[in-house]
């Protein structure tokens, strides 16, 4: 390549880099994104290093000090078995921060693939699949999950799979709408005119354009996944004891809420902060993508 041409190419690459830098700057400036990332970051650290951060052993019973209110020794008090609630709250982030993201990822990958196929191929398969999806969506997700988990048994793996599969049609629907729009655009026709096969068109041409939508969906779904896993844990169909998971803690102790509020309030606050944190990240990311 000639020298001036190389120089020009370098210039345009530099321009692209500075635009990427601008994007980072907008991201950093977004207060919601920052707040969300801080909260999420905090809990991720807890999940990873929880046992070492906790002042006391979260699983150690102490039957002499059951249901003790918050004090200097136990910042959040103790539960029915005398376990330190503060430590348990810190460690409780772990399971949910493994299960929920995995389930969301599974749902997004399957949902995007399904949405791509249905949106581009259309035809009879799309008609039937859409009907089936519509039928299943007539049921609240909790019910569907309950039935499935009752059938296959509850373990972390099954919860991931069930929630992942339940999310798939929802994400597929959003992706499908976007793909329908893309399919009508002329660049898809141009791709056909140069002999691109169906798979090439779906994954090389269309997918990059719907990926931002899928990513935003994923971050939003993550919030709902946590919502879901927590609710299922509360019902006994999610993460199983003896995990210090917050949902379980609340399920075990909520009947005591009248007299022993500390046994549930801190777990509840922790859950609320986590879901809100994830939601703020999702909102912030959506803002960055729009810019």
């Amino acid at each position: 390549m000639s020298a001036p041409a190389t120089a020009l190419r370098e210039a345009s690459r530099a321009a692209a880099r500075s635009r990427a830098r601008e994007r980072w700057q907008t991201a950093l400036r977004s207060k919601t994104l920052l707040a969300g990332v801080s909260i999420l970051g905090f809990w991720i650290v807890c999940a990873l290093a929880g046992a070492r951060l906790a002042p006391l052993d979260p699983f150690a019973d102490n039957l002499l000090a059951t249901l003790a209110p918050p004090s200097a020794g136990h910042w959040f008090g103790t539960d029915q078995l005398g376990r330190d609630i503060f430590s348990r709250v810190i460690v409780g982030a772990r399971d949910i921060l493994i299960v929920a993201p995995l389930a969301t990822l599974l749902g997004t990958v399957l949902g995007t693939a399904l949405g791509l196929a249905l949106g581009y191929l259309r035809g009879a398969v799309d008609d039937i699949a859409s009907r089936v999806i519509e039928a299943v969506q007539a049921l609240p997700l909790v019910i569907v999950a309950l039935m499935a988990l009752a059938a296959v048994g509850t373990s972390d793996l099954t919860v991931v799979l069930v929630i992942g599969f339940v999310f798939t049609p929802l994400i597929a629907r959003t992706v499908r709408s976007a793909v329908l729009v893309e399919s009508e655009l002329d660049y898809v026709a141009a791709a056909r005119l140069r002999g691109d096969g169906t798979l090439a068109i779906m994954f090389v041409e269309i997918l990059p354009n719907v990926l931002p939508i899928a990513v935003v969906e994923m971050t939003v779904r993550l919030g709902y996944a946590i919502f879901f896993v927590a609710s299922l844990s509360f019902l006994g169909f999610g993460i199983q004891p003896p995990s210090a998971d917050w949902g379980i803690a609340i399920a075990e102790n909520y009947s005591l809420v009248g007299s022993y509020w500390w046994t549930v309030l801190f777990d509840a606050a922790a859950t609320a902060s986590l879901v809100i944190g994830v939601n703020l990240v999702a909102d912030g990311l959506a803002g960055v993508f729009e810019a």
Binding site: M1, A5, L8, R9, S12, A191, G195
Partner: protein, 678 residues
Amino acid sequence: MSDALRIEHLEVSFRVGQRERKVVSDVSFAIRRGESYGLVGESGCGKSTVAFAAIRYLARNGRVSGGRIWVDGQDLWSLPARELRRLRTHSIAMVYQDPGRALNPTTRIGTQMAEVFEVAEGLKGRVALERAAQMLARVQIASPERVLRNFPHELSGGMQQRVVIAMALSMSPGLLILDEPTTGLDATVEAEVLDLIEHLRAELGNAILFISHNLPVVARLCDRVGVLYAGELVEEGPGSSVFRDPRHPYTVGLLRCMPAYGARKNQGRLETIPGFLPAPGTITGRCVYADRCANVTERCRAEVPPAIDLGGRMSRCFYPERAPDLPRQVAAPARGAQPGPAAHTRTQAHEVPLLRTHHLSKTYRIAGRPLQAVHEVTLDLWPGETLGLVGESGSGKSSLAKLLLGLSSPDAGSRVQLRGEALPASADDRTREQLKALQMVFQNPGSALNRSQTVRRLLGRSLRLTRLVGRAREARLEELAESVRLTPQHLDEKPRRLSGGLKQRVGIARAFAGGPRVVVCDEPTSALDVSVQAAILNLLVDLQAQEHVGYIFISHDLNVVHYLSDRIAVLYLGRLMEIGPAERVFSGPHHPYTEALLSANPTLENEGARRIRLHGELPNVLNLPSGCVFHTRCPRKLGSICEREEPPLVDAGSGHGIRCHIPAAELATRAPVVSPPG
């Protein structure tokens, strides 16, 4: 008596992100009572903004940052809310593009129209509806009572626009603002709407502010004209003076860009304006047109020219007297073009046509009823030739393009042949060679390029057809880019950062990647500004001469088609009505439909032309008329034969075919719609 509208030193700014951009600067003009004033300019020049400022309806992020506006003698922007409402009801009205969206989709026409009378005169119920019906009759709607009960989506585009006009004129406002009111309407419908506007103006005596990018339409309708460029009014004066004897380099350039009526490609290339349209507000401290002006001096680059009064007209140029002598960009005739009526040679009689269709048809089924998008179209294309395809909406020209390219499947019995060999109906079944040979340039460059790919990647993918790899492919890619005047810098950009003209060049490069024999151009310049259009058309002509390809050029713009095409085919409701050498199709004998199309085509030159108007609506495509499909609107209908039998394609001499029951000899006796130039 105060003016209907008076604008002085208007400045409008919009907040975009963190910055404020001045979209309109120092615009001043006045419209006297009963006068019609046209405001012209290309996209982004600020003409719509001026209109919305004049009606005090700017978007949320806009504000009037300077100047004053008086409507009917009142200072518009300082009126209290109540007075403003009164003004809007009685003194000023607006009609804009896309009438379907201007009407509330969930309310009946009658209710919406009656609203005006309720607000203005306190009328209600039956009485208000009666007044509404009267207005509908005034805009020549045949059955007002029925239309009052309709919902907007039940009416055609032309009808909707009439309703909107009726609503606007209900209270006989002193000023009517029209913002691109006929863009998007078919030529024949547009002609009728413009007739209506003129007629109503004669009756009601209202002033008009007519905003458009379509110069001939403005020339026809307006007494005075103002030309906007990048938010500034660069020239103003009586329509005839501005268009016949412009005094600003931009106006001169703009007028030269448009194919003059009757101009042909072999007579010379189209004039272009170098450079790019600047975003409004980005150029300050100097003449806004300096970067593109061939008459530019140092003074132009250092000072802002004032509005120079030329006695009844104005020019914002230091040297208005030099404008008519603006040096041309293009002096010589097109490269490789031969003088004479045809730009291609059809040498041997046994030479095989490049492309030939036999009984090409496409029928859709809508709710069980057949929709004949294309019906029995038989035509051919010869090497190096351009076949122009014209027609209005519903003519089937886009469907035809898709059929040729294999993007939609034709009915049984249809055949397409490329260089004598049969072409599979679907693009998915065609061989690599066949795909390379037949390519397309799309109308909308925005949707035709994959926005997630850089230009380099995009062209690279199209080069896969050539099986070139490595260095050879790189070389070919660069060659392609150069042939459409793209710089290497452009190659690494994503389409989003390119202007419309540049994107279309990429689209053209893509079509030419595999060395095609036939390129179908589907309205390639309709989405582009006039100054950009000229450059693209020149490029297409050059490439054709270079590569000896055949074009099928689809457009609704008759002047462009006439300029570019060697032969022209006219479609109506999916059927071929006329086909023949471009000269003959334009100068006669004409098919009655072609006659009407030409008549409806506004040009700067033919203002005195005879106008043939089609009456009635386009027939319902699901319920086509029997016999000749045009007979319901044909001004020269013979009689019942037209209703019974579909006419054959009759030879009118020199390869000119006309599908009409009227004998060719008789058609030839009618005077042509427009006299040829010269």
